[in-house]
């Protein structure tokens, strides 16, 4: 690292001491940002005997603290399986989890910790907002990122070389929604969002695709303010455009209320909801009779993935609980990372990135893996779920 030039100052005793203090401060800063090579951690790079560290920055506290443990368990399951088979490159894997609290500042600190621990690959990332500021930290150290859950288009729009998403993006979800709407014979579709960036992104992308050839016609695009109970004004204004299909891209709390209030207002058409609404609570809030038959665009979950039965059983055996959202994606992230390191024959970041780019047909829960030029999934892995007896079950794999 280049040391910034220190301006020449009159060499009084006070300024000299200041200069000394400043220089040592800079030196310390430089040392700490380069990861304190040889100072911290026993698993220094090039040590071929120690375990290969996989770093995972996920929310273990904060607003999304529910999801973190699922992701951690899913990843741990894959690590244990690979280690039981003797590890990769003759070394064991070690998963290091750091809490990002779904908060950008905490996430940066977590990412720096993982860098300091010489993580070979980062397999974390749930909240897009918290994951975004960690991208340059990993990218600068040439640490490949296999992001299991976060899926904002912004993550890949910077075209960083080492960033890969193994969850479908907003545009892929919108494409899946329109594909399903056309397939299901929708005529006039209303799109509703809750004004959050996640929800509005999907809604706007879907809205743009409607009305083009082969796609259903546009009815109206409407946004609601989350956190209220009464959406009757929104319901009334949407019904005025007489849609036969309503696509809700927000979360289940408002989604459940909307479905209920639409049905009470006499709406007879169908509902499609986004992945943020896939939760049995949606049906509970809407009321069982209103929730039945609601459809959803969703990435694969263990419960909806055909052939995941044995996987669920081993998860249950290991952790004594049902697998939750994004545990399969985290499991896949570890396996993808391990596969890439194996193919690269080394933990060198550039080589691993190259082997990630070359990956073709590696089996994951969301189908055979191949990355696009953008480092997103070539096949978004979105499926259509439908509510049956209060539970979301697979309706159509959109393949």
């Amino acid at each position: 690292m280049k040391r910034p030039a220190i301006p020449a100052l009159p060499a009084t005793a006070r300024t000299t001491s200041r200069v000394v203090a400043l220089t040592s401060l800079l030196a310390v800063a430089a040392l700490s940002t380069t990861g304190c090579n040889g100072l911290v951690g026993g698993s220094a790079e090039g040590d071929d005997k120690g375990p290969i560290v996989l770093g995972m920055a996920i929310p273990m506290s904060g607003s999304s603290a529910d999801t973190g443990p699922y992701m951690k368990n899913g990843a741990q399951l894959a690590v244990d399986e690979i280690n039981a088979k003797g590890g990769i490159l003759g070394r064991k894997l070690r998963l290091q989890v750091e809490d990002d609290a779904c908060d950008p500042k905490t996430a940066v600190a977590a990412a720096n910790k993982l860098v300091a621990a010489h993580a070979a690959v980062s397999v974390g990332g749930y909240c897009s907002g918290a994951t975004l500021p960690t991208l340059p930290i990993f990218d600068k150290r040439k640490i490949p990122m296999v992001i299991p859950a976060a899926n904002s288009n912004q993550l890949v729009s910077q075209h960083l070389k080492h960033v890969f998403l193994i969850n479908g993006t907003g545009s892929q979800q919108a494409a899946a929604a329109v594909a399903w709407l056309s397939k299901d014979g929708a005529k006039k579709v209303a799109v509703m969002n809750d004004n959050t960036s996640y929800s509005k992104d999907i809604a706007d992308l879907t809205w743009a695709k409607l009305g083009t050839t082969g796609a259903p016609a546009k009815a109206v695009e409407e946004a609601v303010n989350p956190g209220e109970s009464d959406y009757s004004p929104n319901v009334t204004s949407v019904l005025k455009s007489s849609p036969d299909y309503i696509y809700w891209t927000g979360y289940y709390q408002e989604g459940g209320l909307l479905i209920r209030q639409f049905r009470q207002a006499g709406y007879k058409g169908k509902f499609l909801v986004g992945d943020g609404s896939v939760d049995p609570k949606l049906v509970k809030i809407a009321g069982a009779e209103h929730g039945e038959g609601v459809l959803a665009t969703m990435t694969q979950t263990p419960q909806t993935t055909p052939g995941a039965g044995s996987w669920i059983a081993s998860y249950r055996g290991e952790f004594g609980a049902e697998p939750g959202p994004y545990s399969t994606q985290s499991y896949d992230a570890v396996r993808v990372a391990a596969e890439a390191i194996t193919k690269a024959g080394s933990t060198d970041g550039d080589k691993v990135t190259a082997s990630l780019e070359a990956m073709d047909g590696f089996k994951t829960f969301s189908g055979p893996l191949k990355f696009t030029a953008d480092h997103t999934l070539s096949n978004g892995g979105f499926v259509i779920l439908g509510v049956e007896d209060g539970q979301f079950v697979l309706r159509d794999s959109l393949k």
Binding site: N225, S229, D230, S232, P233, T236, Q253, Q264, G266, G287
Partner: protein
């Protein structure tokens, strides 16, 4: 059109019910009780807990049990309001008004996150749901349940109005609103009357909470925040401190929102409501039915 009016009136009656507590407390001790919306939330949650407990005794929770729970919840949140006043506001009675305001905001957070610790962050769903088929009246779809809720709300408001204008208690409340010091000198137990005011206002908010829980189904620990702000807006529009004005303000706000949403789109609903708050504060700060107060020197 008829549908818009009906939507507005229905939501407005909730706003009015919550706004009354705001307005009464402001009228008597000139405190904007920002924790009032959270008493509404507290009502929804205690109603939920009681229904759960009741479900253990009675196999089928019915409308009758809902009514019993409504009354019990009003008692519970009323006592909650009294406790809030005793703990958070009374020690600051002589303090500058800003301290009270900040305390109210603090009390609001304490209630929200206290409930979050007890009940968890995830939304809950009421076990008893008011769900009915809609009847078309003059082009508007109306359910019997909506009518029942509106009748209950109106009944509570009428009872309150009678209490304040006809009874001894009401006279004491009005007297304290005019001049607390003189009342004290005349031998009125000011603390007791203020407690009673908090009890009544909080009980009404609690009732609205249970009704909203039973009608909409979903409750969560932050549900009081927006309705608290809306109730404040309703109180200001109608004339804060004025009972009839506050009821009118609730209905007006509901109608404004209903028509504003129809005109501009759903995402403009809150902009529209709070825009009117600003407009009223600049043009007619005393509200629709408020009287101009002349300061005597």
């Amino acid at each position: 059109m008829a549908q818009l009016i009906w939507n507005g009136l229905f939501v407005g009656s909730f706003y009015a019910l919550v706004a009354l507590g705001y307005s009464m407390v402001y009228g008597i001790i000139k405190l904007l009780n920002f924790a009032h919306g959270d008493l509404y939330m507290l009502g929804a949650f205690s109603g939920f807990a009681m229904l759960g407990a009741l479900g253990g005794f009675v196999p089928s929770t019915s409308l009758l049990s809902l009514f019993v729970v409504l009354v019990m919840t009003m008692l519970a949140t009323g006592l909650g309001g009294v406790a809030l006043e005793r703990v958070a506001y009374r020690p600051l009675r002589g303090a500058p008004r800003l301290s009270l305001l900040i305390t109210a905001v603090g009390a609001s957070f304490a209630l929200e996150y206290g409930v979050r610790i007890v009940a968890g962050p995830n939304p809950r769903v009421y076990p008893v749901r008011l769900d009915g088929t809609a009847v078309e009246v003059l082009g508007a779809k109306i359910t019997v349940q909506q009518l029942v809720l509106m009748v209950i709300a109106a009944g509570l408001m009428v009872a309150l109005n009678a209490l304040v204008t006809r009874s001894r208690q009401g006279r004491a409340m009005r007297a304290i609103a005019l001049d607390p010091k003189a009342c004290l000198l005349m031998g009125v137990n000011v603390d007791a009357v203020i407690s009673r005011t908090f009890f009544i206002g909080s009980a009404l908010a609690g009732a609205a909470g249970v009704m909203s829980g039973a009608y909409y189904g979903k409750i969560d620990f932050l549900m009081g925040f927006i309705i608290g702000l809306k109730a404040f807006t309703a109180a200001v529009i109608g004339g804060i401190g004025n009972m009839k004005g506050t009821m009118l303000g609730g209905l007006v706000l509901g109608l404004l929102e209903s028509f504003g949403t129809d005109w501009l789109g759903g995402q403009w609903r809150d902009v529209f409501a709070f825009g009117f708050l600003i407009l009223f504060l600049t043009v007619r700060p005393t509200g629709l039915l408020g009287e101009r107060v002349t300061e005597r020197v």
